[in-house]
Subunit: 298 residues, 2 copies
Amino acid sequence: MTPDWIGVDWGTSNMRAWAMSADNRALAHAASDKGMGSLSPDAFEDALIAVISPWLSDGTTTQIIACGMVGARQGWMEAHYSPTPTVPIAASMITPPTRDTRIAVHIVPGVCQASPADVMRGEETQIAGFIAHSSRDGIVCLPGTHSKWVEIVDGRIVSFYTDMTGELFSLLSTHSVLRHSVTTDGWADGAFAQGVSDGFAAANPLPYLFGLRASSLLTGLSPETAKARLSGLLIGGELASRQELWADTKVSLIGAPRLSGLYAQALAIVGGNAEVLDADMMTLAGLAAARAVLEDRI
Amino acid sequence: MTPDWIGVDWGTSNMRAWAMSADNRALAHAASDKGMGSLSPDAFEDALIAVISPWLSDGTTTQIIACGMVGARQGWMEAHYSPTPTVPIAASMITPPTRDTRIAVHIVPGVCQASPADVMRGEETQIAGFIAHSSRDGIVCLPGTHSKWVEIVDGRIVSFYTDMTGELFSLLSTHSVLRHSVTTDGWADGAFAQGVSDGFAAANPLPYLFGLRASSLLTGLSPETAKARLSGLLIGGELASRQELWADTKVSLIGAPRLSGLYAQALAIVGGNAEVLDADMMTLAGLAAARAVLEDRI
């Protein structure tokens, strides 16, 4: 099996690669836990080859399109940000020097915004996939460690906003005093819904947080209920602060299936409207769009 | 030097003790880093004796009044919470059994509130000190890891609210992605003031957080500016959510001097009015009030 090109989504904690046909179908998939966070710049090439070598042929140079934190300042080689408004995949990909002559690596730049200051790296590729897939304007929300809310007009990212909701949930449930009250297993749908409503109504989840600890001490609030309520409070608060973006339009959600489902549920609770898109499909379509940008260039 | 009684403020991470005269003057002070968090229940007595033994006399039993996390479920012996509305120091102190006949230990109960669910442990003693000191109704704010906002009417705690502002600041600046952008040294007054205004106006600091990281990447926002802005955003957001409490009255601040000063500055920025009280003086006056409660009982 010899792919026409290879797409790579290289994040902080892991890397995923797809062997792609000329008509952009995924022929094979491979993954590694060697994320950007664990690699020094000179270790990226070996980490890549270890994953994709079965797909390489001597005497042939295969184009590799990579997106994500691989292009961060702490990554393989920095791919600068394209300032908004911008098409999601700018032509200014960078090409780190490689020793293995079977590969030519191109790293997709991120996107930045001057005011309010914001950056994304990796999401721009999924957004390119969304545009290729739906050919329409809209609001895309990419829930995750750092959720992105992205406004797309005429195929360009015109503005975007980042919420640290996922990271806050993780910090609060594993490092704060709430860790004693929040389990990592189990779930309670009703508590999630109540949390969403409360966090949304107050437009701020913070005043409610310590109440989870107090309820656990005073009334034995169960850890799964506390967990679902904490998640709901944080997502409800996020939806309140981004209400202008989604109030009058359908939100396209691109993220891990479980988390996207929670955002869809939360949006329905507060009067929003959402569709959940397949995140891997958006990533592949975005990498294919980046491949097309590259072919136009070379 | 033989004290009439001994007051102890025993928190999660350290313990402080004062040798007190019969007229409630502090004759001597001692401290230890053996906080509740590092002690099993059977280790509290030895930890206490190690600090206060110079003040004890054979053949005499000295009364010890202790407040704080020493009375938590994970502490020496649980002192149950008094439900609001309540005088700050309820008479229901508990007395853990001790082997050393030179001491009799009494632990002050915390205070709890049913709705919204909330708890305090330690702050009730400072509030008792405030009431003894000022003999008036009012709003007391005790900034810290878990800030308390307390409404006092006729010498009783009628309601209170906890914000996890201090813990959030610590988690965000040392464990989140913002740790790369926030220093632990240095400060920028202007950035603090701007943060307070922004967090207060938005009534929610969360949408601003990632902007600190982005500004650091895009425009080289200095780590001390980011730190002061983060602190301002969180305190400004807290003041917004507790505005009903302080809008029409002077707030009495009881906490670490630097932090109380920041809260006073922030309150002034958003149109509030505050006095900063000496936290140690409030603790001692509160322990003396607890001693008086105990004497009435025994």
